[in-house]
Amino acid sequence: MAASISGLLKPWTPRVFLVRWSRYNPYYLEPEVSKEAYSRPETELSAEEKEQRELKALRPIKAATSGVTSSVFDDPVISKFINMMMKHGNKVLAREIMTQTLENIKKKQVEKYHKASEGEREVIECNPYTIFHQALENCKPVVGLASIQKGGKYYQVPIPLTDNRRRFLAMKWMITECQDNKHRRTHMYEKLSQELLAAFGKEGNVIKKKYELHKMAEANRAYAHYRWW
């Protein structure tokens, strides 16, 4: 009892400090999480990569986020999708939905596989990860529209998009589509798996949205010269 009271008198400091979301000095470098980057022998590296390695040996490095792992199953695209689905910081729920979605996709595809005849079986894709990536690729728009002011009026001008922006748009469309246009009794993973399979087959509402964007860009192609970059 005496020990606990004297323990309370000491100034309390937490054992674990939250470091990752505080602002790092720009001097710190990003961590390299994948094992393949370290398993390459010295001879394979170019001069730049050797310099990078030496720099990493001397400079301080930021702490890795808890979202990245060095396992083989770590996929940055899927991590990004989970983060975008997450609401109020509930990562556990978002990850659950993602795993249930992938499981659901696999179940549906395996069912289709077993029902199909011998000739059709080779065409059916069963790996949910390839289906996810291919569906996302099919949803990415090629050109986007930007609101540019000229002569007092605002015009929708077709512009080229960066890769990050295209990936973000595809994921955002997919998530909003599955959150808004579903029956209140269908689960999110069910609706997501339906949409992903539809996008894999180049049909569905997200692909329609992409086509509408392309049509708008094509209709406004006369304003393309309003861009200055």
Partner: protein
């Protein structure tokens, strides 16, 4: 040397402010002190890049009713054009800093802020 030139300069300025025959030449409404910043230059408006590629892509879309698999060649050439344009823009931004004999305004402001004009002795 600088202080000698400084004293002569200060005398000149005070003569301008007092003026000959009671009429001052200068009537400054702000303090005669140099700022620690340089005015920004208007960035040169370039032209839109990759317009030909985009128009070719859109013509292909119009023909094939916006199906992407039939226009894959045009899409790839558009992406390559975009990448090249971005790389060119990056290189140009690095080169234009050295030419002209003058520092660009942002770098000049940064330098002046690091070695500011001292108004007071404290």
């Amino acid at each position: 040397m600088a202080t000698q030139g400084g004293i002569v300069f200060q005398e000149k300025v005070s003569r301008l402010l007092r003026g000959q025959n009671g009429k001052p030449v200068l009537k400054p409404n702000r303090a005669l002190v140099l700022k620690d910043a340089v005015a920004n230059r208007k960035p040169k408006k370039g032209e839109a890049s990759c317009i030909t590629e985009m128009s070719v892509l859109m013509a292909c879309w119009k023909q094939n009713n916006f199906v992407d698999s039939l226009c894959s060649n045009e899409i790839n050439s558009f992406y390559m054009c975009v990448e090249k344009a971005q790389a060119d823009a990056k290189n140009k931004a690095g080169q234009s800093n050295i030419q002209g004999g003058r520092l660009p305004p942002k770098q000049a402001t940064g330098l002046l802020k690091r070695y500011p004009n001292l108004c007071k002795e404290i």
